[in-house]
């Protein structure tokens, strides 16, 4: 069973979590190495595509169009999936989704389920709910297996165990699989996982998955994967339960021609990932006899309602933004306190929490824009971050308590200064006066008090110029040049 789940409701503020995370030198090294590798691979396969920008634009339009017609496409999917023998359920929130999946799992008569990696199931902490109901969930994705056996938590959407190196993985497998002689070459580790899981694949009767895409036009479901554990879980069990956020729906089969080009190149830097599975409803001669899809809202409709941040739902979970993010590179995923980390996490997590929690996440960014540059569906993450910051400020400054918000007071004061030339000049003069006790002989300030102390932690601050541009300009004017 996993360790304490990443829960935005209880996670520490990002600056604090980041500081702790950055103290782990091994993790930082692993994260750097992994993100460097994926970024290089991605760049190479994207450079091969002269129509990459046109694909991105089509991806953006497909996703935007979907959200604009979400009700229509969800109903169409339900109709077509049901017609093909699937059973469609609807869940308003995490609790309802958990309840439905647990009931279905129990009804399938199995006390074990094999799972394909699904961030959606992590989002609702499904495994814990299953365990509590006496159903043991076995993660079959290698990274998730590593996480589960290591009692850890995922730190990346696509490569959840990216923060672990081979020695750490070997150590976990040695202990939990009882393989004291296990080597640490990646091949050895993969072999160990293969043997351990094969037994489960051939025996366990119930599978649980997420979904990459739900195809409205056909009622089909598409899973994109690398290892083959997905194929195992989708075809060998008798009962399959698929959990999907309502944002996973895609209008038509043809639209996969765009998404299946954007996703593998962005996620793992491959022209195509090893296996994609598309199945429609039930075919008793090929796969499970019973197939359930649980369509979950869990605050996605809240995001839909905010026109400025609605584009958050366009995400196809490639994690290219995580790999490109210079902040993520330093802190790894756990610091974000959510299964969705990095840039997408910074905008998705607070919104899934309806802005009641994770308010420090929109500030966990220098707004450098590297994420927007690589997003295959052109989500303008920096713009959404700024919009969410505005929402946080409005929350913090609301009501009586809001009057005492220190930061807001300082910002209002500065705004007042910037609104008037006289006040601006006065502030410049005052600044020079205020800083003079802090300024060293060489013209540098090594220490600042209070909130500003964050600056002088690692940096000096040059004193204000003795002659501001304004002074220089005016003097020049008097002298004729």
């Amino acid at each position: 069973m996993s360790g304490t789940a990443l829960d935005p409701k209880t996670a520490p503020l990002f600056p604090i979590a980041a500081k702790i995370a950055m103290g782990d030198a091994q993790m930082r090294k692993n994260v750097r190495h992994a993100t460097d590798v994926i970024q290089t691979k991605r760049a190479r396969v994207v450079a091969e595509m002269p129509d990459w920008q046109q694909l991105r634009e089509a991806g953006r339009q497909i996703r935007q169009h979907t959200m604009e017609n979400l009700d229509f496409y969800l109903e169409e999917f339900e109709r077509n999936c049901t017609r093909a023998g699937g059973v469609v359920h609807w869940a308003r929130d995490a609790e309802e989704a958990r309840r439905i999946v647990v009931e279905l799992a129990k009804a399938s008569g199995s006390d074990e389920v094999i799972k394909i990696k699904s961030m959606t199931t992590e989002e609702i902490q499904l495994n814990q709910a299953l365990e509590a109901a006496g159903v043991h969930a076995v993660e079959t994705d290698l990274a998730e297996l590593i996480i589960q056996l290591g009692e850890d938590r995922p730190s990346h959407i696509v490569v959840p165990a990216l923060h672990k190196n081979r020695q750490e993985i070997r150590e976990i497998f040695q202990r939990k699989m009882n393989l004291p002689e296990l080597g640490d070459r990646p091949d050895d580790l993969a072999d160990a996982a293969r043997m351990y899981l094969r037994e489960k694949f051939l025996r366990v009767k119930t599978g649980v998955s997420g979904a990459n895409f739900l195809i409205a036009e056909t009622g089909g479901v598409c899973i994109v994967e690398s290892e083959g554990n997905g194929r195992m879980c989708l075809t060998l069990p008798e009962t399959l339960i698929t959990l999907a956020g309502i944002d996973k729906v895609v209008p038509r089969y043809q639209d996969l021609e765009v998404l299946l080009q954007l996703l593998p190149r962005s996620a793992t830097g491959e022209r195509m990932n090893p296996y994609n599975s598309i199945w429609t409803g039930v075919d008793v001669k090929d796969g499970p006899r019973t197939f359930h899809v649980v369509l979950m809202d869990n605050a996605r409709t809240e995001i839909l309602a905010d026109e400025e941040s609605r584009q958050t739902l366009n995400c196809i979970r490639c994690a290219a933004c995580q790999n490109a993010c210079p902040v993520y590179r330093q802190t790894g995923g756990h610091a974000y306190g959510s299964v969705y980390a990095g840039p997408i996490g910074a905008i998705l997590t607070p919104q899934l929490q309806e802005m009641h929690y994770a308010q420090s996440l929109p500030y966990a960014s220098s707004l450098c824009g590297a994420c927007y540059e690589v997003c295959p569906v052109k989500i303008n993450i920096p713009e959404v971050l700024i919009h969410l910051r505005n929402k946080v400020v409005k929350q913090n400054t609301a009501g009586v308590a809001g009057l005492f918000d220190v930061e807001a007071t300082a910002m209002k004061a500065m705004a007042m200064i910037f609104r008037s030339e006289k006040r601006f000049r006065a502030a410049q003069r005052l600044g020079r006066i205020a800083e003079s006790p802090l300024t060293g002989k060489d013209g540098w300030i090594g220490w600042l008090p209070g909130m500003l102390g964050g600056w002088t932690q690692a940096r000096d601050l040059k004193e204000m110029p003795k002659e501001t541009f304004r002074d220089w300009w005016e003097k020049r004017g008097k002298n004729g040049n």
Binding site: A18, L367, A370, M411, K412, R419, G446, G454, A458, D460
Partner: protein
């Protein structure tokens, strides 16, 4: 910047009432406080033939957000004024390379220099290799490429204070890259990056300084 523009034969004016574009407020979530600053900017500069700004982040702020902000304020006259003004606003290096079409501004700066691509200039303004072409034309300059040139320096406005630890870690990577070039100075189109970078270079007593692109282009050969 004034020196360079005048050297190229232009007349420069400095409206003394100008203060700030509002980026710090807007980006930190204080949109309401930023609105009056937009109005002020428009009032100060609306009659200019061209507005040149030695800061790519300020210009990005204006291009990316002013139209939307003006619409929110809801004054149609203001909308028109913003739409008319923005095409006349340029970041300094893009004014030279794109508007004036010059690369050689008659500068001299005989030092080893490395260039950092500020995020706003790189991604929001699409400055491309404009700044580097300007630098290459500088007499006597020894321009060295900066490894990981496109990676953010970690300033990010209030980010540097609100997330000081991460900001410092990002900065450490940037200064390490700068030091690896052996450059005497690091340049960029944004003083915010440079202030940030120099803060660490100075704290670590490296002897490496930062210098704004405009200062390099202003450099003149001392007449013998």
């Amino acid at each position: 910047m004034v020196r360079v523009l005048e050297r190229l034969g232009h007349t420069v004016e400095f409206p003394p009432g100008q203060t700030c574009c509002g980026q710090m407020h807007y980006n930190t979530g204080y949109q309401a406080e930023a609105m009056p600053l937009l109005e002020r900017f428009v009032a100060q500069f609306k009659d200019a033939e061209a507005v040149v700004v030695p800061s790519s982040s300020c210009v990005a702020m204006m291009r990316d957000h002013y139209p939307k902000m003006a619409r929110e304020i809801g004054d149609s006259k203001l909308n028109e004024a913003v739409d008319a003004l923005l095409p006349k606003v340029f970041e300094f290096s893009e004014f030279l390379t794109k508007r004036l079409g010059v690369e050689d501004v008659g500068a001299s700066y005989p030092h080893r220099v490395t260039y950092h691509a500020s995020c706003h200039g790189l991604r929001n303004l699409g400055l491309g290799d404009g700044p580097v072409r300007l630098l290459r034309a500088v007499k006597g300059i020894d321009l060295v490429e900066l490894p990981s040139v496109e990676v953010c320096c970690g300033f990010g406005g209030t980010f540097a204070v609100k997330n000081a630890d991460v900001s410092s870690a990002m900065l450490a990577d940037k200064t390490a890259a700068i030091l690896s070039t052996g450059a005497e100075a690091c340049t960029a189109c944004d003083n915010s990056c440079l202030m940030h970078i120099e803060g660490a270079l100075h704290r670590q007593k490296t002897g490496v300084k930062t210098v704004h692109l405009a200062e390099i282009l202003a450099g003149e050969e001392v007449a013998r």
